[in-house]
Symmetry: C2
Subunit: 340 residues, 2 copies
Amino acid sequence: MPVVTASQESGLIEATLARLGVPAAEATIQAAALVEADLRGHASHGLRRLPTLAARIGNGVIVPGAVTKLDWHTESVLRVDGQGGLGPVVGRRATTALADRVQRTGVAVAAIAGANHLGILAPYVEDLSRQGLTALMTTTSEALVHATNGNQAIVGTNPLAIGIPAPGAPVVLDMATGLVSMGKIIDYAARGEPLPAGWAVDAAGQPTTDAAAAARGGAIAPFGGGKGYGLSLSLELLVAVLTGTALGPRVRGTLDTDQPATKGDLIIVFDTGLFTEVAAVGARIAAYLDEVRATAAPGQEVFIPGDRARAARERRLAEGITVPDELWARVTELAGDPVA
Amino acid sequence: MPVVTASQESGLIEATLARLGVPAAEATIQAAALVEADLRGHASHGLRRLPTLAARIGNGVIVPGAVTKLDWHTESVLRVDGQGGLGPVVGRRATTALADRVQRTGVAVAAIAGANHLGILAPYVEDLSRQGLTALMTTTSEALVHATNGNQAIVGTNPLAIGIPAPGAPVVLDMATGLVSMGKIIDYAARGEPLPAGWAVDAAGQPTTDAAAAARGGAIAPFGGGKGYGLSLSLELLVAVLTGTALGPRVRGTLDTDQPATKGDLIIVFDTGLFTEVAAVGARIAAYLDEVRATAAPGQEVFIPGDRARAARERRLAEGITVPDELWARVTELAGDPVA
């Protein structure tokens, strides 16, 4: 399997997007979002998404160069209409506007509709926290998860990300609220391996260990039982009620190639320094994180949210990103295709 | 076991607090918080807390009549210093100030330090959502939960509550981030029943099914594995970084009788109507919640967050609250004690 550097991967993505009419500055931002996912080990949100993005641009449901409408409804509430633009482009415009504004207001919120898939959330909150800001971000996504006691997909995998400034590196949580990702279930299916019990139901609503059956219209279990389901549903509602976007099965446009994106994104940013004495709190956080790590059971390691992604990122920056053969063939063909 | 009405319970609590010098208006608010917990089936946060509250007042770590400092740092950031006041009194003052302010600012945040235990969070977000507001609330608590791969208590059970206005009744999530409560483990110990595997470790950090051993300096597992642990730790940091309060083992004052409360509370309120067209979104939410319920597996019921608490509340309002004999003896003695 080919091993590529981050800059090779972003070069290929940028070239592909340029051929599709994406302005260079936008292509750079979109490429960075995909590369970050691959570097951190979230291949399902990396280069693998490029063919879908390309098809969506071709089908007019991603609009390169779309003007993002940034509308401050109050001093601290930003309504964002992405107008079909690339997700990371809209997301970055929103976080930049929030980071500027929050110095004055202490808290600022962006409610985003009409943006395509933002990609993994960690880089957004991480970048905000590197500026000393505290951030919370969540987004809706296609209904792939069943309710506790339910047997059909009805809530999104709705990720939640939290970024906390801390000495050294920010603490960065980024978790989906499904027990596993559909990407993982598809990987099991590709390998012909059975799923662990309790991961999924099939399209008929029956619990299944058949990965292929789960992937064909089945549903993933929520993480953490009833609490995880309750959290996932509450995030679905929180995003919808503040962004006016779609709910449950009406969320479209991040996995398919021809439907407008109907999900929403919510970003809340706090100017940490307006709340507390940052240096003092930072020192206490650093000491506490050391304490948390020191509670490891014998032979185990306790991780702080963000640790593993950071380690994975550094390893792949040094050693490169391994790309499956079929994907590499597909994206190099896409990059080299004559413009239709 | 005695069965009492909600008003009998609140009368007894108010009488006890009055004898301890708590102003009548504050006693009413504190009593309501305890009664709400009992009505909703969270006995560990109900009348059972009264002896601890009384001892804390006696020891000067709860200060009846304390003036709550409400300091708007910006138009939308409220720093609250409870000055040792009763938790629900401080909490209600904060939510009232936020509900007033948010009509203008769209979002408002209270960062609370120096308040005693607020009680269960659901009533706060529920009341805000009954006013059409969307609310998110979290709080730190004594370190009782171990990290994933850890074997000592190092994070709080840090509950998260989310309130979403919806036609009929708000959707109200209120979940602790421990797998179970320490109260439940103590109940197992009292009945001499073994704990299910994976619930807890003992004081030596060994996994245990001995409930009494777990309760004596052991630790509860986080809910939902690594994701739940990551969420719990992130909430611990989020509260601490925005309120300047204590972290991990330095959180005190909600379970003991003589330590000042060092935890923090964070409340974020959104004026839903400033974000979206409330009537339209409300109709969509109602339709979606029906869809979610309709996904129930055969013979099962899918619950919406808040459903079960509301049903439990209505049942106990009609049928009364059952109080264990030893607790009833203790609180009636407390209510009748001559003032020291």
